[in-house]
């Protein structure tokens, strides 16, 4: 085979295009990886989700300033899988007498008169194929604040944690930094009196807390 004009089937400037294409492919690879690693991560997509609710209810006022316990409204949290969203009646326990004329309370009063429940917007929403039990966590000493953040400072509730599978697994593999005596589960301000991991290890030993990481633990 002689080197001749027939061998040069492509013009010379294609050599430069080759470099451009190579750089483009390298950059494109980095771009796609970054896009998926950060852009599609639940940390980016879900953290900070704070929908406007039909009622301008402030957790900062009720749970913070007034220091109502979480369980006053979310009654089932120690007993069942779901932390119940309170019915209008729970609000009316107090608001039948307190600030009955408040503008912010109007939707609750309307609901009370018509019997139509308030359509609260769900903030912390796990996929339907995930089985999560609040009682299993709360009664063994995982505080509300660990997953939901400082609710007592939020006017409107927002999602603080990614709630991704990897995030769940981090704690299931090593729950010690997140354990506290169960009587403080609903406290927003509780702090361990020694390093959290040390206390957590003691609590885990005492209560035989060894969370499972089997698929069927959460996907039943």
């Amino acid at each position: 085979m002689k080197p001749g004009p027939s061998n040069n089937v492509f013009p010379r400037w294609l050599n430069r295009l080759r470099i451009v294409l190579g750089a483009g492919a390298a950059f494109g690879g980095v771009y796609v990886v970054t896009l998926f690693a950060y852009g599609a991560s639940p940390k980016t997509l879900n953290v900070g989700f704070a929908p406007e609710q039909p009622v301008a209810f402030s957790h900062a006022l009720h749970a913070g300033e007034l220091a109502l316990d979480c369980r006053y409204c979310h009654t089932t949290v120690e007993l069942g899988a779901r932390a119940a969203v309170p019915p209008t009646e729970t609000c009316m326990n107090c608001h039948a007498r307190i600030r009955t004329q408040s503008e912010a309370l109007a939707p609750i009063v309307a609901s009370w008169t018509t019997g139509e429940p308030v359509h609260w917007k769900r903030v912390h929403d796990l996929p339907d194929y995930v089985y999560f039990d609040h009682s299993a966590h709360v009664t063994r000493g995982v505080g509300c604040v660990t997953c939901h953040g400082r609710i007592d400072t939020m006017d409107r509730v927002r999602q603080e944690q990614p709630l991704s599978m990897g995030w769940c697994l981090d704690c299931h593999r090593d729950p010690t930094p997140n354990l506290r005596p169960p009587q403080f589960a609903t406290s927003m301000e509780w702090q361990p009196d020694k390093p959290a991991r040390e206390l957590g290890a003691e609590l885990a030993r005492a209560r035989n807390i060894r969370p499972s990481t089997d698929c069927s633990t959460c996907h039943r």
Binding site: M1, P3, S6, N7, V9, F10, A37, S41, P42, P162, S164, M165, G166, W167, L169, D170
Partner: protein, 487 residues
Amino acid sequence: MGSAHGPISVGSAGTQSRGEVWTRPVLVDGDQSLGAVTRRVCDVVEAPKPPRAWYIAITISASLTLMLFGMVVYLIATGVGVWGNTNPVFWGWDIVNFVFWVGIAHAGTLISAILFLLRQKWRTSVNRAAEAMTLFAVCCAGMYPAIHVGRIWVAYWLFPLPNQMQMWPNFRSPLLWDVFAVSTYATVSLLFWYMGLVPDLATLRDRAVTPLRRRLYGFFALGWRGSARHWQRFERAYLILAALATPLVLSVHSVVSFDFAVSQVPGWHTTIFPPYFVAGAIFSGFAMVVTIMVPARELFGLRDLVTMKHLENMNKVILATGSMVGLAYATEFFIAWYGGNAFERFTFLNRALGPYAWAYWIMIFCNVVAPQFFWSKSIRTNPWLMVGVCILVNVGMWFERFVIVVTSLSRDYLPSAWGYFKPTPIDICTFIGTLGLFFTLFLLFCRYLPMVAIAEVKTVLPDAHAHDEHGHAGGAAHGRSPEVQHV
């Protein structure tokens, strides 16, 4: 290739008298000039129209491929329930067909890598087509694990990709080893095949008469100019790839056999599986090469390049590996009895005498009895008869996988959980569809790429060994064997 141009003294010098001159075997027939080889191979690609039979064949095979796509879409849209897989046989035709196609894919690498390292020069005429066949068989095989997972959109979970679920494949599972074994095999086979093609693509580029052909072949020829430096690097790289590919011939089907052998199902849990599977894979692969090379060489007038000698050699490999497979069947039976495990013993008796006895005896006839006809030279050199035997071998090797997968699962430890597997029409049409895909790809390959490695065949022609004309005395000066030098 090219590296052993000196006259080779025959290893078994003892059987040869010392004065006798070793003559280089003639590996191709017909016109022995270098140009004739180029013309014969390129004419297939450059002919304005392929033979009429090509059109008929590709119409049929492309229709079957369309049917395959339809079946796969239906499967994905509906779910794996459209197949016959159900309790207790959860591995049905999907795994049978996967192993069947992976097995067929073994001849290509054996011919291209092992026979290359062993300096079996006759491989040059058949390696290109065999490697292409390997790739197409891997395509058919690789499809099954992907579509049988059910939720194909999460098939990437097979690979260890970091993700927010922190989900990671189980590295203790042979199913994961399989993912790596098959994907490595596909990658290396593709590189090997493509690298061998580069000089021939450059030939097609230089002969091209239309700009489109020149550009297309030129693009894939990677700027090959045929300089001495190109050749030197090419041959070194080819040798390295051959060395890398060689362990794969043994590893891929060993790992496929681990899918079964590592489990505890009676009839699967046996240590003989890796060598037995590898022998079976080479057996079925060579049978498929012969099955498609015989019509291809007739159709495209390549009888001088792919000679009867080549086919006969491959038939001998089929005879040898077929006998190994037969020995493995006998050993399995013997060990089932000798091992004294009641479940194992039952499984093997059940295979031969149970509800799947029909499949078992088809397998025995096709894999053990049929290749024995190749002891007869007149049968192994008759194109019709050898294709007949090779088709039987392919049928037999499909049934071997069927017997292994289905009989063991249908009746294992618990009699209350026994069942009888029945494929659905979707199973059958999907399998026929993969045959269509395989032949479609092969027919396209025959028409658009050089079916025989032009550059490699030239190295076995007399013109490549001009110094042979010095006669024996001249050759002895370069000879590597002391026997020759002492003459």
